[in-house]
């Protein structure tokens, strides 16, 4: 075969297909319910879930948080609060990457003071987005504890940050790109690993 056929080789299969994404979200939802139950104080009647707030980091963390909340409600019958927190104004790389449009920051009316906040994001990479989100949360209130749930952990941390709930661990090289597509934004669910010298 010639080189041209290599160039037009079919794209690699996705890391996570649409079914995989749904399964991973279900699993993380179950883990959240279990952890909430085990950490709930004596006398909590709702499995500790009333205390929980899922806070998505835009863009794709926001729909992920809503989906997790929907699955938790389906499994446990308890409605959990959802919010989003835009981290653009807290980023430390604005000077490198330039300004961008802001997205919604919306928290439940009851606030986050004294509650268990679980930050939700699509990909955990350097950890800088999470640091920015932690800074933003500090200005918004004082949660009892903050945890982190991500769909994909691709490694290469630049800060001492780890996720409490991980959908899938993916070993990657720095030159590769992890692309998360979600139905709410991109029309379908899938996670792709592209670029680099595979």
């Amino acid at each position: 075969m010639t080189e041209s056929s290599e160039l037009s080789a079919p794209p690699a299969p996705p890391l996570l297909s649409s079914d995989d994404v749904a399964r991973v979200i279900d699993r993380v939802a179950h883990q959240l319910i279990e952890r909430a139950a085990s950490s709930a104080g004596a006398g909590a009647t709702d499995g500790g879930l009333a205390d929980l707030v899922l806070v998505g980091i835009p863009t794709r963390g926001a729909p992920l948080a809503r989906r997790l909340a929907a699955r938790i409600e389906a499994f446990s019958g308890t409605r959990v609060d959802v919010g989003t927190v835009d981290i653009t104004l807290y980023r430390d790389d604005l000077r490198l990457r330039g300004v961008r449009a802001l997205e919604d920051t919306r928290l439940p009316e009851s606030g986050i003071d004294g509650r268990l906040v679980v930050l939700v994001d699509d990909v955990l990479f350097s950890g800088r987005s999470v640091r920015a989100a932690l800074d933003a949360l500090r200005d918004l209130g004082r949660p009892r504890a903050v945890q982190l749930a991500v769909l994909v952990d691709r490694g290469h941390r630049e800060l001492p940050i780890r996720a409490d709930y991980v959908g899938k661990n993916v070993p990657t090289s720095r030159s590769q790109k992890v692309e998360v597509h979600l139905a709410e934004i991109d029309g379908l669910d899938e996670v792709l690993l592209t670029g680099g010298d595979q």
Binding site: L89, V99, A101
Partner: protein, 306 residues
Amino acid sequence: MKRHLLEAGDLDRDDATLVLDTAAQIESALAGREVKKLPTLRGRTVVNLFYEDSTRTRISFELAAKRLSADVINFSAKGSSVSKGESLKDTALTLEAMGSDAIVVRHWASGAPHRLAGWVQGSVVNAGDGTHEHPTQALLDAYTIRQRLGRLDGVRVVIVGDVLHSRVARSNVWLLSTLGAVVTVVAPPTLLPVGVGSWPVTVGYDLDAVLPQADVVMMLRVQGERMNASFFPSAREYSRRYGLDGRRMAALPDDAIVMHPGPMNRGMEIAAEVADSVRSTIVDQVGNGVSVRMAVLYLLLGGTSE
């Protein structure tokens, strides 16, 4: 976005909409918060260079910069080396040598910010130059209209009064038409500038005739300090023909709003009962000014300095 904001014409429709959307997001992000401060511009220095008196614009810019964690230096020409004869250029270069990233300038001479932009490395924001432009005022007016009426496209805006001396009117005419509003200016013929025929506006002389079709009435301050000739016979006659009183306000459509950039001459261009009515957005305009100026500073300074 361009590096400077010198006039409303620096913003195309996308830029202007981006500023308004950013301001709305900032406002909702800060609403109800105990800590009304964002770390975005930490380590940046903003100089407020004011050669002319100002209350709301200077305080508004100062508050906007501080809420974004920038360091702010307030400089007013009174009590500085300007009174020893230092030129605008030397003053600006001095400030820049001390490390300013942006200069917010108000000057009595039209075009001073343009000159300044050619001398300094950082961003220049025009906070009002002579009788030329006041772009952030127009942005906050557009923001207020959108907030109250929910749209700008097709909104009928009537700007009334001293258009000749008003930088607010000039900036609003350009920005609002960029954003799709339909602008009419109403003034005594003596208070219209020579080139008004080339503006994207309809010109009228009879306030009563245009009020029933207006969504927004923007009253301008009669600028006594810039009037070096007699432009109308008496204050009373001006007020009678071009002032907005309760009777005229009643002729407006039900959801129309009344705006004024401040400071007001109560009883001259606007009656007290109108200024204090529910249609009046005068206090909203001041509050929105901070959000809009935060958006401008963020968009000009937040990114790369190239």
